[in-house]
């Protein structure tokens, strides 16, 4: 399944680049994402709870960010799996200066969907993915305009000592070297009740970080959204 698209983000390329690589922001960006845990440099395991009405599902996924030509191109690979299905995707993300101080982002995603979710029909899958991507970029744009504070990393799990600068990160700082085990949690104030995926998020939404574009949308949202949708 191939999806391409783009968005205009109202911040310079460098700012956008940094935000896209910041896990503290990612955890607040992905709908239903409760926790991001670093498992290796630029690699995170995520736990997502997503729901439709009273129906929720939890699944785990992994995202890896591979800088290719900072700050203008990177590759995102993501996998996710839950009860009814699996997703594996790679997304080529490109950032370019649009000449007016804003960034033109384009993404080129290739996703493989398996399990029962694969059975809901291609157009429904791509339509959901496209919608999520659009919503995320709208939210990203909002964030870049309001510049809300990012989340704090949680206490590390027992037995694992965080290395390096495990502390506050801001959209403008370099991506913290998240040592294995470092976990970022969505701030409580940020948490939304399991919302309906596919619906437009409320204004001033919980998205205060930057979504890692379509890859996250695809990996996180599709699996979650379609798990929820699929339930009887």
């Amino acid at each position: 399944m191939k999806i391409t698209g783009g968005a205009t983000l109202h911040a310079p390329v460098g700012t956008v680049w940094t935000a896209l690589n910041d896990p503290a922001i990612l955890v607040r960006a992905i709908p239903g994402c409760e926790r991001l845990t670093a498992t290796a440099p630029d690699t995170y395991q995520l736990t997502v709870t997503a729901g439709v009405g009273t129906i929720t599902g939890t699944y785990t996924g992994e995202i890896a960010l591979t800088p290719q030509q900072p700050p203008s191109a990177f590759l995102l690979t993501a996998t996710g799996s839950g009860g009814p299905g699996t997703v594996s995707t790679s997304v080529q993300v490109r950032l370019a200066d649009d000449g007016n101080g804003a960034t033109q982002l384009t993404y080129d995603a290739d996703a493989t969907v398996g399990g029962v979710i694969a059975g809901v029909g291609q157009r429904m899958l791509t339509s959901v993915a496209r919608r999520q991507a659009t919503q995320f970029f709208t939210a990203i744009d909002e964030l870049l305009l309001t510049r809300a504070a990012p989340a704090q990393p949680a206490a590390p799990p027992e037995g694992v000592r965080p290395g390096g600068a495990a502390g506050v990160s801001s959209p403008t700082a370099a991506a913290p070297p998240g040592a294995s085990g470092t976990t970022w949690e969505r701030p409580t104030a940020d948490r939304q009740p399991a919302g309906r995926l596919g619906a437009r998020p409320p204004t001033g939404s919980f998205l205060t970080g930057v979504a890692a574009g379509a890859a996250i949308a695809l990996a996180g949202v599709i699996v979650g959204g379609l798990i929820a949708r699929r339930k009887r």
Binding site: V116, G119, G121, R123, M124, R131, R196, G198, A199
Partner: protein, 792 residues
Amino acid sequence: MTSFFGASVQRVEDDRLLRGLGAYLDDLGDDALAAAFVRSPHAHARITDIDVSGALDVDGLVAIYTFEDLPGRLAEPLPLLIPHPSLTHGRTPYPLAAGEVNHVGEPVVMVVARDRYLAEDAAGQIEVSYQPLPAVVGLAAARAAQHLVHDDVPGNLAGNAVQENGDARAAISAAPHVLELDFEIERSASTPLEGRGVLARWDGQAQRMRIWTSTQTSTGVRAAVAAKLGLALADVDVITPDVGGGFGVKIVHPWPEEVLVPWAARLLGQPVKFTEDRREHFIASAHERAQQHHVRVGFDDGGRILGLDVRFWHDNGAYIPYGLIVPIVTSTQLLGPYKPGAYRVEFDSLYTNTVIVTPYRGAGRPQGAFVMERTMDAIAAALRLDRAVVRERNFIQPGEMPYDQGLIFQDGRPLIYDSGDYPALLAKLKELIGWDQFAAYQQAARAQGRRVGIGLGCYVEGTGVGPYEGGHVVVETSGKVKVATGLTTQGQGHQTVFAQLVADELGVPLADVQIVTGDTRRFGYAVGTFASRAAVMSGSAIALAARKARAKALRVAAEAMEVSADDLEIVDGIVQVKGDPASGIALGTVAVLSNPLRYAFDDAAQAATQFAGGDASRPPVAEGEEPGIEGRAFFSPARSTFASGMHAAIVETDPDTAEVTILRYCVVHDCGRLINPRIVEGQIHGGVAQGVAGALYERMAYDDAGQLQNASFMDFLMPYVSEVPARIEIGHQQTPSPLNPLGIKGAGEAGVIPGAAVLAAAIEDAEGFPVTSMPMSPSDLFELRRTHKDTP
């Protein structure tokens, strides 16, 4: 002992149905997801985009499928069920439209959701973009072929076929009298009260599919679904539930929904159900009847037909999955009970951007009867002869049976009438309606300013077409008899009629016999219910199977009772020495004895266990034998067997409003021996109602853009009780069939076949001008009167 054969036994299925305990398709599968479809609103268009995003917000949405989602064989067109050498350009639809739609109603997108309301909500939000193309509607447009339905079908011609017997054109050229006539019949449809529906359950552990569908052919659906989904036949069950009427439309298979619903059930791992609504039935199932005929007939001074040359055009709709059956039936059955000196028939089957055309009760015979009978009347008018006399002069005589018409019938076999007595039938009809007395009545009525007319119509019906049907009879240890046959039931009373046969053959009480039809788990080899074949085919097979079971029972009982089997009879379920009830043992006990046991499961079974006795020197089950009292048999005749009938009607037309009132309607019919006369009469009543409705009320009103303007019961005039003759007078004749062990012929379609012919004739007789097209509504008649204002 009284026989059940020929008895008007009350139906065994009625109690359940009267209590509301019927199990029709939509009554099943409460736990299933619901499927709904986005269907084309255009008669002819290319699909340019499908945007499903609007549907995503519908709660309970599970899946949305389009053609691109269909894998393997599902991405191929649906089967062309009946190939024929003359069908040179057969086209069938894809289960979901693959870029092009060819009729309003063609399915484009399939939605699956938690219930039907939500599925339809989602379907309503899906936006399909079309580029409309010119629509070909009606035979005139199809023939002119200014536009094509299918780009690769020149002239919109699916197939052209010719059959002839002798040189009709030469005979006509040499004939003393020649007439040239044109006739037209419009579309109608089966419209059973229950529409189509299908429910599928996929067993992921056993990797088996179980399907319920409101069909006329369980084995047909099974074969098609197995082929499309890559399953073995043995891994697909098709169960026919109670069916609320078929009348032909449900013989088509597989409907797109019949392959898509099982496919979705397997893909989603959940049961899925589809039930169409009434509008969908009008625009997405099937129609029939539309034809245009051009006839040239040459005849002598006595009205004997020397040559008959029929050229006709058949509208087969957007696709032709059922092949050329309907026009082939028209071609061959047009001859009716007559033997023209020479006959030539040629037809073109043409595509139009409308719903597909497949058999509807009569399956092309009503069109043929209309043409032949109107021609007969035209000959009589030209020669000023009595219309009945002209027919008599053209009849095949009883002494000429079997009579070979020199044509190939719809079963691929020679059109040979095996039996029938047409002169006797006509004599009966004339007496019943008072044919010879009518002229005086008409005169008297005219004097009062009333317009009355009489018409008659004859037909012949090839029934019991092959290839075969089968039956399985099992006598259980309880004495109950379980019977199965593979074809299906849509209200014909098979559970009663077949039970009558078995009760007779086996000598058991009727209440002890249970019949199951249309369940591939119970009987896997079958064709289906259509063409008035069920009693002939399954009835014969079941009777033969029962005879086998009976023979086995007598053999086993004879051994146990130490008598000869020839000395035994079965009365009321007791196997006894003839005339000696005290000697008997129950059939159920015989069943116990027929199955040597190691373990007794009850007291009665003890008699069959190892230490209960018997000859220890012989094997418990002899070579070539099987345990149990069962019989399994198939019936496969060489040809169809020909029923026949004649109808007559007296109508009155209102001089001002042009309304047509049927004063009397008489039927004489011959379907050989009758198993249950009341059920046969019920079939005639229903058929006559459809014939009358087709003659006066029903037509599919397509506009030039291919929109069906009357796709509901509000505007498609299904008859209520007020539109049907209050009394249908029925006379019987029985010329037994020599082609099956029971001597029976089919009766299912008889009532409808000559309806249009008869009423057209009666209206013409009342009005005094030719009636050459049906249906005839009051406004049609009004217009016709204006056209013929100057005709006396």
